[in-house]
């Protein structure tokens, strides 16, 4: 008898495991934390400090989603992924969402069966060279040895760029940013290429950042954003509108400092009221609490605050807002309306 119940339990467990993919939201609520895939360490975007606490621009997205879903920005477990392992980790259900400066492309969206829930950084692929080489344009790089991270769009862009300019190069495939940095600094490659934001972040950690220059060519469009698996629209909506809430909050002037106060009672701006849940039932429609956006904003501030704190001009990484300014300031960051 005991054996029968045991087999029954095993069967039931496998069945639930099989169907669990259908409801990521219930899954996350049941286990009480969000499993978020991040990079293995890229200063400013996602890096663990000495105490093992993760922090950064991508990490902030994970924390905001955790705050929106579970009400607690600390209820996140991070899985460091390489460029190569990230998609398998997401497709297999090992992680609930991936926030790892991942480029939104057609084939990843359609063929790899993922849903990109927005763009949190508009980037492009650039080149970094030591200044002593005296190179001023990527077109001068004929015959150069180029370090690339494998498993990214970078190596495809690079192949296209060198082919269309009819110049040759020697690719050196590298697994992680840290290894690429070591090879580049030792002179085993002349050029390091990845997204321009990543280059800036890497250069900021060098002993002597001024000895290295970013070349003016940006050879690709790299809209970086968080993504989830195909087929769970509710979960994708939660991610998408949490990110939009952060962006809308900046536009509407809601910051981590005033969000609590604004969410106390309905004010006279209906969009703010709907966003913060003092009016309407947007949170309920998502399957979350009415104050999901308030929690998300309270977790790390609005989009602008997150940007400024982790990668903005006052940080060592020193990225200007550029394309990533609000649309009202001439950038591309734009949230659809909350209504």
């Amino acid at each position: 008898m005991k054996k029968t119940t045991f087999f029954g339990a095993v069967a039931a467990a496998t069945m639930t495991a099989g169907f669990a993919a259908a409801g990521t939201l219930d899954d996350v609520k049941a286990k009480g934390f969000l499993q978020c895939g991040v990079s293995t360490g890229l200063a400013g975007f996602s890096a663990a400090d000495a105490n093992g606490n993760w922090d950064g621009f991508d990490v902030a997205v994970c924390r905001a989603v955790a705050a929106a879903v579970l009400g607690d920005p600390q209820a996140v477990k991070f899985t460091p992924t390489t460029g190569k392992t990230r998609f398998t980790a997401l497709a297999s259900g090992e992680i609930d969402m991936l926030a790892r400066n991942t480029t939104w492309t057609f084939s990843r969206d359609v063929d790899l069966k993922f849903t990109f829930i927005g763009v949190n950084y508009y980037d492009g692929q650039g080149f970094m060279v030591p200044k002593e080489l005296g190179v001023s344009s990527a077109k001068d790089l004929d015959g150069a040895t180029v370090c690339i991270q494998t498993g990214t769009t970078t190596e495809l862009n690079l192949a296209d760029f060198f082919r269309s300019n009819n110049i040759s190069y020697e690719p050196v495939p590298i697994e992680t940013n840290a290894e690429a940095q070591q090879q580049y600094l030792a002179g085993a490659c002349d050029v390091y290429t990845t997204d321009a934001s990543g280059l800036a972040a890497t250069r900021a950690t060098f002993e002597n950042p001024d000895a290295h220059a970013l070349l003016p060519e940006i050879i690709s469009k790299e809209p970086l954003g968080p993504l989830v698996r195909h087929g769970d629209d509710q979960w994708a909506d939660i991610g998408r509108w949490t990110l939009n809430a952060l962006i809308a909050a900046e536009e509407l002037g809601i910051t981590s400092a005033n969000v609590k106060e604004s969410a106390m009672a309905a004010g006279n701006n209906p969009e703010i009221n709907r966003l913060l849940g003092t009016e309407g039932n947007l949170g309920e429609q998502l399957g979350l609490s009415a104050d999901f956006a308030k929690n998300a904003i309270a977790a790390g501030g609005n989009y602008g605050e997150i940007f400024a704190r982790h990668i903005g001009e006052s940080t060592p990484i020193g990225l200007a807002r550029g394309l990533n300014a609000q649309w009202t300031d001439g950038g591309l960051i734009y949230s659809p309306p909350f209504r």
Binding site: D111, L133, E155, A188
Partner: protein, 405 residues
């Protein structure tokens, strides 16, 4: 008419399948087999269903699509417009290259170290023990990464060779450049008449074998021993060199030269290939050395004593008596060391070497998202390579093993 009654025949009863010892073991085996097949079937069905649910049915069409990425070390023609299948083939050849180089290095080093460990010289024997224990007991991945790191940090970058007061210079009369990107060595250049030199060289190699057979027959007939080594060495060098100089040196050398960012010309051995070969070879050599030691110690002392009693020199004793017998013990574990080395070469991506795991199991997998298909092909490739290695080695083992009559 006589009425005889047969003894009542036992009908076969189902319960006999369990209670009759004649059938019981077969029953159990059949039941176990059925359960096992059901389990396998369930797993396969589960995988197929889940893949279908994800909208990713098994298909191998991606192998024909353009790969779109470049590979640095290619032994056959390849560019980024060729197919994923071609890229996988480039990777397979790179895997085979590092496996063959690694196996040669491991065998040579392993035999030397294994013999030295048995040396009567206390210092040499202890040094070899230290070598074996330190290499055997540290994971091979760490050796690979360490070798690469030492390589990159120790040797000068190509730009150090440039300028009036360059901090580095080429060695061996400006023919070899050792940089942290790899080793550049001269490449033979063929001019008119070079074919004759190559033909003569091949003929002299055949000549060495013919001479060897003749010399052995002569020894068996007359008992006289010729200075075989020196004669073979002469056959190896003299005719080829004569033809080379008579034809006016038809084979030249293309020297590597610093142009732009890198050295151009000559043969380029990448740092990743060198580091990987060294690390795999040094690591596996430690295991081979232990096999060699075990093989030599397995030959009973009486054999060498008998050889000495016959007046054979220690050298001949080792070559004619000890090693042939030791080989029988050495070869079988050596096969598995070769297999290990080949499989360990899949760690290549740690140093950026594009083996088949790096191309098919790395970039192709990542760009196409066909995890299941890529990994299945990858496993089939490694299985095929391993089976080929072990059948070749088993054939060799058959030819050296004790003939029992």
């Amino acid at each position: 008419m006589s009425a005889t009654t047969d003894p009542p025949k036992d009908g076969f009863q189902l319960s006999q399948l369990i209670y009759d010892t004649r059938y019981r073991s077969m029953t159990i085996q059949i039941v176990a087999l059925v359960l096992f097949l059901l389990g396998v079937g369930w797993l396969l069905n589960n995988a197929a269903q889940n893949l279908a649910a994800l909208g990713k049915p098994l298909s191998f069409g991606f192998l024909g699509e353009a790969a779109g990425y470049d590979i640095n070390q290619k032994l056959i023609e390849y560019n980024n417009q060729m197919s994923h299948g071609r890229a996988a083939l480039v990777g397979v050849l790179n895997t085979l290259l590092v496996a063959v180089l690694g196996c040669i290095l491991a065998t040579v080093l392993g035999v030397v170290i294994g013999v030295l460990r048995l040396s009567n010289n206390w210092v040499v024997a202890r040094l070899m023990t230290v070598y074996i224990e330190s290499f055997r007991n540290v994971p091979v991945l760490l050796w690979i990464v360490l070798t690469m790191a030492i390589f990159i940090e120790t040797f000068p970058a190509p730009r150090a060779f440039r300028g009036e007061n360059a901090s580095a210079s080429m060695s061996l009369w400006d023919s070899v450049a050792l940089t942290n990107r790899g080793l550049y060595i001269p490449k033979p250049e063929m001019y008119a008449g070079s074919t004759a030199v190559i033909v003569v060289f091949l003929l002299s190699i055949i000549g060495i074998f013919v001479f060897g057979t003749w010399s052995r027959k002569r020894q068996e007939a007359t008992g006289q021993i010729l200075p075989n080594f020196w004669i073979k060495l002469a056959i190896f060098f003299v005719p080829t060199l004569l033809v080379y100089f008579i034809l006016g040196r038809p084979i030249g050398l293309e020297l590597p030269e610093l142009k732009g960012f890198n050295f151009q010309g000559g043969i380029y051995m990448r740092n990743s290939l060198i580091a990987l070969t060294l690390a795999l070879g040094l690591y596996t050599a430690a295991f081979v050395a232990e096999n060699v030691r075990a093989g030599i110690m397995a030959v009973s002392k009486g054999q060498s004593e008998a050889a000495f009693a016959l007046g054979l020199s220690p050298n001949r004793t080792m070559n004619l008596i000890i090693l042939p017998q030791a080989l029988r013990v050495i070869i079988p574990p050596l096969i598995s060391q070769y297999l290990n080395l080949t499989k360990n070469s899949s760690l290549a991506i740690a140093v950026g070497y594009m083996d088949v795991t790096g191309t098919l199991g790395g970039i192709t997998l990542n760009q196409t998202g066909k995890e299941m298909e890529c990994l299945l092909i990858l496993m089939a490739i490694y299985l095929a390579i391993s089976l080929i290695i072990s059948s070749v080695m088993n054939w060799y083992n058959e030819s050296v093993k004790l003939r029992e009559r």
